[in-house]
């Protein structure tokens, strides 16, 4: 039943009493039970709590006081704090951690009526681009189970692609929503920094992290983002500014919109099949009335090293609280305090997390701060300036989301640099703070999905969703579901 339904379709079906929330919730839970042992996209599912919530939603639907997402089953990335279940961050360190509070976006989706069916797998503490660094094992790509789903929100992307939920939350620090969305053939939005509250998002890199929606279509994402976005007094970096009508703006005509395509994107490193699909996508936008114009983002090539320095620096500090003293894993029988810290953190964190903590500690150290951290901040300003300049003349910036389609499990695990390049096109938006969306625009040579990336000026999520939606009205890439599920 739910295999062929989008979030929007479920929303409508529930309103029209074609089925109940209990029925769709049950259907997703059954699919999880049947398919997820293979995919490993969930860290946990909440059968009892979900069905209870579905029943409550059905009552509201029956009595006519349904809220926007009433009864719609969704999943949360297991980096967002939930009072239901555990909040593991896919780390041994927090394997048994229960949060005393809900993340703001979790609470807002609940207030909008969504039913939470489980929490999705991810790269440990969101550090990774392939979902291979999870303490609970790698997630498989539903389009080809030898392939990675991307990361870090790989569990959410795979779960949506395999229709194991109607939509899912993700978090995006350098591409963690958009790159897995591209690799799994779904739609994912990284909102403007400050648009969605970070309260309850277990911080990886605080100045870059942003939660956002992941679903089959742009329309689905618009419905989710409408519930998630908005100012939160508990997050000083969230912006107090009205939320645009994302759903109401979906049908806007694209005629006369100018889409900039940075020359820097179509260079070495971009796979030919991805390039071809993205260029076809650009043609589609031309047909929809948009003007395509070549632009330049001269500092784009510096975005990966800049991102690596800043994100690692912040991570090294953010992850210091996992020290064995309070709620985390604690090493057995340590010899004194220092040994407890060392053993706990050596045992509790995986290799990639340890690598980033060490890099981050190094770049903030006396004698290196200026050369690395401060320099990176200066480049970050230049990258932001590039965007500001570009958005003076264009409405949107387009390109590939990731340089390749999904790569094989284990293929890049031993080569961190190759892995980091998977985020080549996405990290700059996080550094600048502007929003981006990835949506499917075709398939590559191996039959794996290709994602197209659109970026817009600050707080223009409405335009991103509008453009992606118009594209999806003209194409059917987003309707494809892998045969394996």
């Amino acid at each position: 039943m739910v295999r062929d339904l989008t979030l929007r379709g479920i929303q409508e079906g529930l309103r029209n009493k074609e089925f109940s929330s209990r029925e769709v919730t049950q259907a997703y839970l059954d699919r999880i039970e049947a398919l997820d042992p293979q995919l490993n996209s969930y860290t946990q599912s909440f059968r009892e709590a979900a069905l209870a919530a579905a029943d409550a939603a059905d009552q509201r639907l029956a009595s006519g006081d349904a809220r926007p997402l009433e009864g719609v089953p969704i999943a949360h990335k297991d980096l967002l704090a939930t009072t239901e279940g555990r909040t593991t961050c896919a780390s041994k360190m927090l394997e048994n951690y229960q949060s005393p509070f809900d993340a703001t976006v979790v609470a807002r989706l609940a207030e909008a009526g969504a039913v939470v069916i489980g929490k999705t797998n991810l790269d440990e503490f969101a550090m990774g681009s392939s979902n291979e660094t999870s303490h609970f094992g790698p997630v498989k790509n539903p389009w080809g189970t030898n392939a990675v789903p991307g990361g870090s929100s790989g569990g959410s992307a795979a779960a949506v692609a395999a229709r194991l939920c109607a939509g899912a939350t993700g978090t995006d620090t350098g591409g963690s929503i958009r790159q897995p969305a591209a690799l799994c053939g779904i739609t994912g939005v990284k909102p403007t920094y400050g648009r969605c509250s970070r309260y309850g998002l277990v911080a990886f890199a605080s100045s870059l992290d942003q939660p956002g929606p992941m679903a089959a279509t742009a329309e689905d994402c618009a419905h989710m983002l409408a519930a998630m976005a908005g100012h939160d007094e508990r997050d000083s970096t969230s912006v107090d500014r009205p939320v645009d009508d994302y759903v109401g703006g979906l049908e806007q005509d694209l005629t006369g919109k100018i889409i900039g395509v940075p020359a820097e994107f179509f260079t070495e490193g971009l796979a030919p099949d991805v390039e071809q699909a993205v260029k076809a996508g650009l043609d589609q936008f031309r047909e929809l009335g948009a003007e395509i114009r070549e632009i330049h983002l001269p500092h784009y090539p510096q975005s990966i090293p800049t991102y690596q320095v800043i994100s690692a620096a912040e991570a090294s500090s953010n992850l210091a609280r996992f020290d064995g003293v309070r709620y985390t894993h604690r090493a057995a029988d340590p010899e004194g305090l220092i040994d407890m810290y060392k053993s706990t953190r050596s045992e509790g964190f995986g290799a990639e997390v340890q690598r980033r903590i060490m890099v981050g500690t190094f770049v903030l150290s006396a004698g290196y701060y200026d050369a690395y951290y401060l320099k990176a901040q200066k480049v970050r300003t230049k990258i932001r300036d590039d965007f500001a300049k570009a958005f003076e003349e264009v409405d949107l910036i387009a390109g590939p989301t990731s340089p390749t389609t999904a790569f094989g499990i284990g293929e890049k695990a031993a080569d961190p640099i190759a892995m980091y390049l998977s985020d080549l096109y996405t990290t700059a938006t996080n550094l600048a703070g502007v929003p981006g969306v990835s949506f499917p625009c075709g398939f590559g040579e191996s039959g794996l999905p290709v994602g197209m990336h659109l970026m817009a000026n600050f707080f223009r999520e409405d335009l991103l969703l509008n453009a992606a939606h118009r594209y999806q009205q003209a194409t059917d890439w987003h309707t494809r579901v892998p045969d394996s599920v």
Binding site: A81, T87, S236, T237, A320, D323
Partner: protein
């Protein structure tokens, strides 16, 4: 060779906000362990800080009180280090861009010249929790996180002080100011006002600074003085023995009266400060500065000057009476009853403060209302009682909080000013002490005091001493013929 010390102080003052710096938890001292905490001050995963604006206002007040510049934009930074009572693994503080810079403070060292001490900076930060190492068994440490996240300001002086006395005078002045501003309760025992001292020595007359040691655990004015004095002597010995001072942190042991090495510069943490990405830069608008300026109370220096000009007090007395806002207010209420200002100053400082100090109380806990002390002073002025008798009246006033007139009445302490009554007693005494009369007649003037004493004794101290003096002298002189 003669050496002089170079001293700079770092003072942490806990701000008297009701809630913590980045969350709504209470800052009340003494609650049951770990009851005043929440996900934010516990640093639970996903929690985020939100700045307490009242703490900002207090920091600005302090800046204005020391004539400093308030930075329109300052930045919170993370100071990273591991410690069990630091739940986030970093302390949120200010580093490169503090909220306050370039201030100065006028100090009045006892037995020294008034001196201006520069204030380098004042920054805002959160306190850590407390580790309790005793009472939980071997190898166990208990952690109380009630204090975690309590707002502090750190006031960093220039290395301007040249003696332990100057350092104490500076510290006392700061202590006085934070209490005048009502931004800190100043309690050194509970740790809401703490001081570290940077101390080095150099040959007197030279310019270059020596290598400094940072002294910690100085939890009283007395200990600040003792520790600095000890450290000066220790450093001098090292140098005179041909050694070198190493830059290090030293802990003051008040029981043994020594400082001990805690960690050297090499062992010092690299705190890896960087701007806190969870907090926006702190903008202090001009309006806030102006509001703070207009709400500044009269500060100790201004009050001291006013007491000198308005009440004719001596500088030292004016300084003592303006040590705290409450004491100054109390004194002014004594004077307001119509009491003589100088006499009122004496009674407030000597008798009242003496009694309060003995009991370990401060002026706000005085059992004698200012109005009653004023009445007592007036009774001395209008000669209802002598100064000596007044001390007898003071005692029950202090013990029971009674009014002076009631005590004078009940105890019959009213001064005898009736000349004929005094003359009668004087005649009696002269009649009973012929030997002493002869001495006086032989030119031994000193014996006069004996007669006065005897008269006072017979009248229970109530006779007016000036009158007694005069009458005794007149009568004895009359015998000289």
């Amino acid at each position: 060779m003669e050496f002089e010390p170079v001293i700079g102080l770092e003072v942490h003052a806990q701000l008297s906000t009701r809630s913590k710096l980045f969350c709504g938890c209470s800052t009340q001292y003494g609650a049951e362990a770990n009851t005043q905490t929440c996900p934010v001050c516990l640093g639970m995963p996903g929690s985020l800080p939100v700045l307490n604006r009242e703490a900002v206002r207090m920091a600005v007040m302090m800046g204005l009180a020391v004539e400093a510049e308030v930075r329109p934009r300052s930045v919170f930074a993370r100071k990273n280090y591991f410690y069990p009572d630091l739940p986030k693994g970093y302390q949120t503080s200010q580093y490169e861009l503090p909220i306050i810079e370039h201030g100065r403070l006028r100090t009045e060292p006892e037995d020294g010249e008034p001196k201006m001490v520069g204030i380098t900076r004042i920054h805002m930060e959160e306190d850590a929790g407390k580790s309790l190492h005793e009472g939980f068994g071997d190898n166990h440490t208990a952690i109380d996180l009630n204090r975690t996240g309590t707002p502090l300001i750190e006031i960093v002086s220039e290395p301007d002080m040249r003696s332990p006395q100057e350092a104490v005078a500076y510290l006392k002045k700061l202590h006085s100011i934070v209490r005048y501003l009502e931004i800190c309760d100043g309690n050194m025992q509970e740790g809401s006002f703490r001081c570290d001292a940077n101390v080095s020595i150099r040959p007197k007359g030279t310019e270059e600074f020596g290598t400094r040691a940072e002294l910690k655990n100085l939890n009283s004015f007395r200990n600040v003085e003792r520790a600095i004095l000890y450290e000066m002597e220790r450093q001098q010995e090292v140098i005179e023995d041909g050694g070198h001072i190493v830059q290090e942190t030293r802990l003051w042991d008040a029981d043994k009266g020594v400082t001990r090495s805690m960690r050297s510069k090499e062992e010092a943490n690299d705190y890896r400060y960087f701007p806190c990405p969870d907090l926006l830069p702190l903008d202090v608008p001009e309006t806030l500065v102006n509001e703070a300026r207009s709400s500044l109370p009269e500060l100790p220096d201004a009050k001291r000057e006013r007491f000198i000009t308005e009440f004719g007090l001596k500088g030292y007395d004016a300084s003592v009476l303006t040590t705290s806002r409450e004491l100054g207010d109390y004194y002014e209420r004594v004077v307001a009853t119509g009491a003589d200002a100088k006499l009122a100053a004496n009674w407030t400082m000597v008798e009242l403060l003496g009694a309060l100090n003995k009991d370990g109380r401060d002026i706000t806990e005085s059992p004698i209302a200012a109005e009653n002390l004023g009445l007592l002073v007036q009774r001395i002025e209008d000669e209802t009682i002598s100064g000596k008798i007044a001390k007898q009246v003071f005692e029950p006033m202090y013990a029971e909080g009674e009014e002076p007139d009631a005590i004078i009445e009940r105890e019959g302490l009213k001064q005898i000013t009736d000349t004929s009554a005094i003359e009668g007693v004087v005649d009696e005494v002269i009649g009973e002490n012929e030997g002493q009369v002869q001495q006086y007649l032989d030119g031994k003037d000193k014996v006069l005091g004996f007669f006065v004493g005897q008269v006072m004794k017979k009248t229970g101290g109530k006779a007016n001493p000036q009158q007694v003096n005069q009458i005794v002298k007149d009568k004895l002189d009359a015998k000289k013929g």
